[in-house]
């Protein structure tokens, strides 16, 4: 281990010096205010239209129910709406405002919305050129001719990557809270949020539903986002081992992630799509009780699928990296 620490230090330092993490922070600093502003506008409109948030929920429920009675709406949508209605009703019954505008609530919904595309994108900014970058710059020749076994080099890259993925999740949550808090106030830590909805076909089973304080909910979200981000990171590392150019590596991974998002909106009839990693990235939905993209998917199912993909990614990365000839 004492030999690995300096290597991990090297890799961490290189990512830092390449200013990749600056880019991540910069993107967050630009985008969060944009969303905050949008949220502010929504809150203003709501305040104008509804004196009480309960009225708003009631109206929303009515809207959904109207939709359910329409015949032109596809069955799939109806299922989603039916579930949403039950959840809104649950919030209403328990006198909890699910959309109260405050810093923590904003952070919670921002993170939930960012998990399937935004976080993977940020992760790719760091992960995509970890190996391919060294190849295209030629520095890999210096790196691999030093008296260090190759697996140690890749391992230290993986640890550095894990570090930055964790940092990205934490920093994004903190920035989100700080920036939106300036507008909505820094409260909302203790607000109860319901979780534990079990979706059974098109009904929500509320036997396991319980309230958790919002800070804990955000923490749980962070953990799940970390898991799905790490899966993306590991697969990106694998692609960057396999592909020589960084551009190709980013495009490959982005295509996979975007394809996953598209698949999850249209794949209710193609059931085996649920084994695609990108369809399983939206782990926070299980927490919120939104219906999964494909029937029958559960949190543990998704976690297992992501774990399998990660394991394959690691095996391929290490297998290829330790054996491959560096020709270019």
């Amino acid at each position: 281990m004492d030999r690995l620490l300096p290597l991990i230090q090297n890799e961490t330092l290189k990512i830092w010096k390449k200013k990749r993490f600056y880019v991540v922070v910069l993107v967050l600093i630009v985008l969060i205010p944009v969303f905050t502003y949008a949220q502010l506008k929504i809150a203003e409109t709501n305040r104008k239209n509804f004196k009480d948030w309960r009225n708003q929920l009631v109206q929303q429920i009515n809207e959904y129910q109207n939709m359910l009675s329409s015949e032109r709406i596809p069955e799939e949508w109806k299922r989603n709406r039916r579930i949403a209605v039950q959840q809104l009703q649950y919030y209403l019954d328990h006198d909890v405002n699910p959309n109260s505008p405050d810093g923590v609530t904003f952070t919670r919904s921002f993170m939930a919305n960012a998990v399937n595309l935004f976080y993977p994108l940020l992760v790719l900014a760091v992960a995509s050129d970890l190996v391919s970058g060294e190849r295209s710059a030629g520095t890999i020749k210096m790196l691999l001719t030093r008296p260090v076994r190759r697996w140690k080099i890749l391992f230290s890259k993986l640890i550095a990557l894990t570090l930055y993925v964790s940092l990205t999740v934490v920093v994004s949550a903190i920035l989100c809270y700080l920036i939106s808090g300036a507008v909505f106030g820094y409260g909302g830590w203790g607000m109860p949020v319901f979780t534990g909805f079990v979706i059974n076909g098109s009904t929500v089973e509320s036997t396991y539903v319980h309230a958790v304080p919002q800070w804990l909910y955000v923490l749980m979200e962070g953990g799940l986002i970390w898991v799905s981000s790490m899966t993306v990171a590991i697969l990106a590392l694998m692609v960057s081992v396999l592909v020589r150019s960084t551009a190709a590596s980013i495009v490959t991974m982005m295509a996979a992630v975007i394809a996953g998002t598209i698949l999850s909106t249209m794949s209710s009839s193609w059931e085996s799509a649920k084994y695609v990693f990108a369809v399983n990235l939206q782990l926070t939905d299980y927490l919120a009780g939104s219906p999964p993209p494909i029937q029958g998917m559960t949190l543990s199912f998704s976690l297992i699928i992501l774990a399998i993909w990660s394991a394959i990614g690691l095996i391929v990365s290490f297998g290829v990296f330790t054996k491959q000839d560096i020709m270019n």
């Binding site: 090297n10 330092l13 290189k14 010096k17 210096m142 790196l143 001719t145 030093r146 008296p147 560096i326």
Partner: protein, 322 residues
């Protein structure tokens, strides 16, 4: 000294072969590099030089054969074997977004027992004190080269491998490099230098291995190999016809026709009406005297080494006869 050096082999390459995509790129490469010598690795572009070098430093795994560095097998025990070598494969590629010093720190961390003082020492050796804290992207090629060498020297290697080190350097830089290489060898380090230019190898190296189409054709002292081929003597007389007659009267002098030699055009361009001969160079002084006696002015006489191509012809011919 020679016999002591022979017993001390730093790098031993034994029957190394490499197949890439079903094609034998390296058919048979064997040679030894002894301690303290400057070993040249000569071959035209595409002959397998770089592939061989990449195998020496564990970037490519040989299909068969062994590479031992100070007795350790590069494939089986890279951590031990690579400790003894420093190398620059092709271009000196270092991290352009870091400073020279940060680069050296980076590579120092990959080996045990290299501290700040050693980094300062190698910076001193390559004479980069003034620019070492600048970002590498602002460096010229020559400076990157120096930084590359500094990096290679960090671990006090027994063998330094340089792949076409004079590529892209200006004449002054090439001269400095030659002196630098000599200085390192004088301190007891072995050097392995690849090149496609015979003249370069002649100027820098003690021994040489010549490679062509993935096969080592010959290994030996540079002077011996060159002498085997024989060099040219090019005469410039005030009166070329008279000079030609004078030489023709002598025994053992062969005139070389225009299309027979492979002397670099650029060298001959400055020598108008030159008489090109193949002869024993020791006789030049006596012949000049004779010409002067005969009243034929000699404007210049020069020995011109054979080109790599000629050396190859010689070697491959030798092979087909043997």
């Amino acid at each position: 000294m020679q016999s002591a050096a022979q017993s001390d082999v730093v790098l031993s390459v034994k029957d190394v072969k490499k197949r890439i995509g079903g094609k034998m790129i390296i058919k048979n490469v064997s040679f030894d590099v002894r301690s303290g010598e400057i070993f040249g690795f000569l071959g035209p572009n595409g002959s397998g030089k770089t592939t061989t070098i990449r195998m020496l430093v564990n970037l490519i795994k040989p299909t068969s054969g062994d590479i031992l560095i100070c007795g350790s097998n590069v494939q089986r025990d890279p951590e031990e074997a690579l400790r003894h070598i420093g190398c620059i494969v092709e271009n000196p590629e270092v991290y352009s977004y870091m400073t020279g010093w940060e680069n050296l720190e980076h590579f120092a961390r990959m080996q045990r027992g290299i501290g700040q003082d050693r980094i300062a020492e190698v910076v001193d050796i390559v004479g980069m004190q003034h620019r070492i804290h600048d970002k590498v992207r602002t460096y010229s090629l020559g400076m990157r080269q120096r930084l590359g060498i500094a990096q290679a020297l960090l671990g006090r290697p027994k063998l330094l491998i340089l792949d076409e080190p004079t590529n892209g350097l200006d004449p002054k830089g090439i001269k400095e490099l030659r002196e630098f290489v000599r200085m390192l060898a004088d301190q007891g380090m072995s050097l392995f230098i690849s090149s496609h230019l015979l003249s370069e190898i002649q100027l820098m190296c003690d021994r040489v291995a010549i490679i062509s189409h993935g096969e080592v054709l010959a290994v030996g002292a540079v002077d011996e190999l060159v002498n085997q081929t024989g060099s040219y003597v090019v005469w410039q007389f005030d009166d070329p016809e008279a000079g030609r007659r004078l030489l023709a009267a002598e025994q053992g002098i062969r005139f070389v026709k225009e299309d027979e030699h492979r002397i670099d055009e650029s060298i001959l361009a400055g020598l108008k009406e030159a008489v090109i001969t193949s002869m024993d160079a020791d006789r030049i002084t006596a012949l000049v005297e004779k010409a002067v006696h005969a009243g034929i002015g000699v404007a210049s006489v020069q020995r011109i080494a054979p080109t790599l191509e000629e050396l190859f012809l010689q070697l491959t011919e030798g092979e087909s006869i043997g």
